[in-house]
């Protein structure tokens, strides 16, 4: 009986490859949502004034928060490469804290809109404001809500990987994989911010 041939598909470690495969799947999901939103704007350019309801300052602050958190996440990864658990934990906690701040600001934004009756299906509300019945906010809440979910999952992943590494002293690559996912979440917001808050 012949032996199985071993074939190396790639030099990328399997954990990192798994995270990249996950990220590629997420790219397909978000690209569908973003393409749909852009096409919606192409079809109904008269709805652009609706975006003036959005607060560009809050969106900008969220952008700064995510950029800083990406920096702290990769700093945590660099510390993990040096096997420096103290710095790794500090940067990871900073990243998680910034993620919590992001969630808080997003919740504040949403509460403002919900209190004015602007929901995911608020066609009537838009009709009253502008005379158009098409629900712009279905896109807004879907895109930002999906992104928010990824921020929460990313923060949990960072927390678990940091605690795991600190307790066991092994599996330092978990920090890298969590940081990769977090940077992807930042990239999504890099596109969401101009498309939602700037293009008006």
């Amino acid at each position: 009986m012949s032996e199985a041939r071993v074939v190396r598909l790639s030099n990328v470690p399997k954990g990192r490859m798994a995270i990249w495969l996950l990220i590629c799947g997420e790219i397909v999901i978000f690209s569908g949502g973003l393409a749909s939103y852009i096409l919606f704007n192409v079809r109904y350019p008269e709805l652009k004034p609706v975006t003036e309801i959005l607060n560009i300052w809050l969106g900008g602050i969220n952008s700064i928060i995510l950029l800083v958190s990406s920096f702290t996440a990769v700093s945590a990864h660099a510390a993990a490469n040096r096997k420096d658990s103290g710095q790794m934990a500090m940067y990871t906690w900073l990243t998680i804290l910034l993620g919590i701040v992001f969630v808080g600001i997003k919740a504040y934004e949403w509460s403002g809109k919900l209190s004015h009756g602007l929901t995911i299906s608020s066609g009537q509300a838009i009709l009253d404001i502008l005379g158009h019945g098409v629900s712009y906010f279905s896109y807004y809440f879907f895109l930002t809500g999906l992104h928010l979910l990824h921020v929460v999952v990313g923060a949990i992943a960072l927390l678990i990987s940091m605690l795991r590494v600190k307790s066991s002293g092994h599996n330092w690559q978990w920090v890298e994989m969590s940081a990769l996912y977090w940077c992807f979440v930042d990239i999504v917001w890099i596109f969401l911010f101009p498309l939602l808050y700037i293009v008006r």
Binding site: A4, R5, V6, V7, R8, L9, S10, N11, V12, P13, K14, G15, M17, W20, L21, C24, I27, V28, S31, G32, L34, A35, S36, I38, L39, F40, V42, R43, I56, W57, G60, S63, I64, L67, V68, S70, F71, A73, V74, S75, A78, N81, H170, N171, W172, Q173, E176, L180, C183, F184, D186, I187, I190, F191, F193, P194, L195, I198, V199, R200
Partner: protein, 156 residues
């Protein structure tokens, strides 16, 4: 039968480390890009199609910086680049495949047209019927459906 090799996890990562770029410089570059996007907040008059294109270009550059430097894509093998290219391809394919259906550039205004026959059913048209609808009540080029006619024709 081919089998993927699996290394002991930490050995794979120990032999794989390739250094990293200056994260601080990349972060500063990202902040500069963000400042450009903030310009409409101070000067709303700059908002135009040209600025929107600039904003999207800045966002793309920021994404490339984060992916290349923070996520170390520039150190990864071509297989990974191919995976990311697939994701980008999905976006472009969805966008350009649907664009002709939603863009008003492709709308045909048939209110002034009076073709000899209905292009859907190939029936001779009524001369007074300026905006003909097909069997299923579809108005050509407008993407709208006469719902009542649709339901009658489809038997619902």
């Amino acid at each position: 039968m081919a089998v993927l090799i699996s290394h002991p996890a930490e050995d794979a990562y120990k032999n794989d480390y390739h250094g990293h770029p200056n994260y601080l410089m990349v972060f500063i570059a990202l902040l500069v890009g963000l400042l450009v996007l903030f310009i409409p907040a101070f000067a709303p008059s700059v908002l135009s199609t040209g600025f929107i294109i600039v904003a999207l270009i800045v966002a793309t550059v920021q994404a490339v910086l984060v992916a290349g430097s923070f996520m170390h894509v520039k150190y990864e093998p071509k297989l990974l680049w191919g995976l990311l290219g697939f994701g980008l391809f999905c976006f472009l394919a969805l966008f350009f495949a649907v664009l002709p259906d939603v863009s008003k550039l492709f709308d045909i205004d048939i209110s002034k047209e009076k073709p000899e026959y209905n292009t859907y059913t190939h029936e001779k048209k009524n001369a007074n019927d300026s905006q003909s609808t097909g069997e299923l009540g579809m108005v050509r080029g407008k993407g709208r459906i006469d719902v009542e006619k649709f339901h009658k024709a489809s038997g619902h």
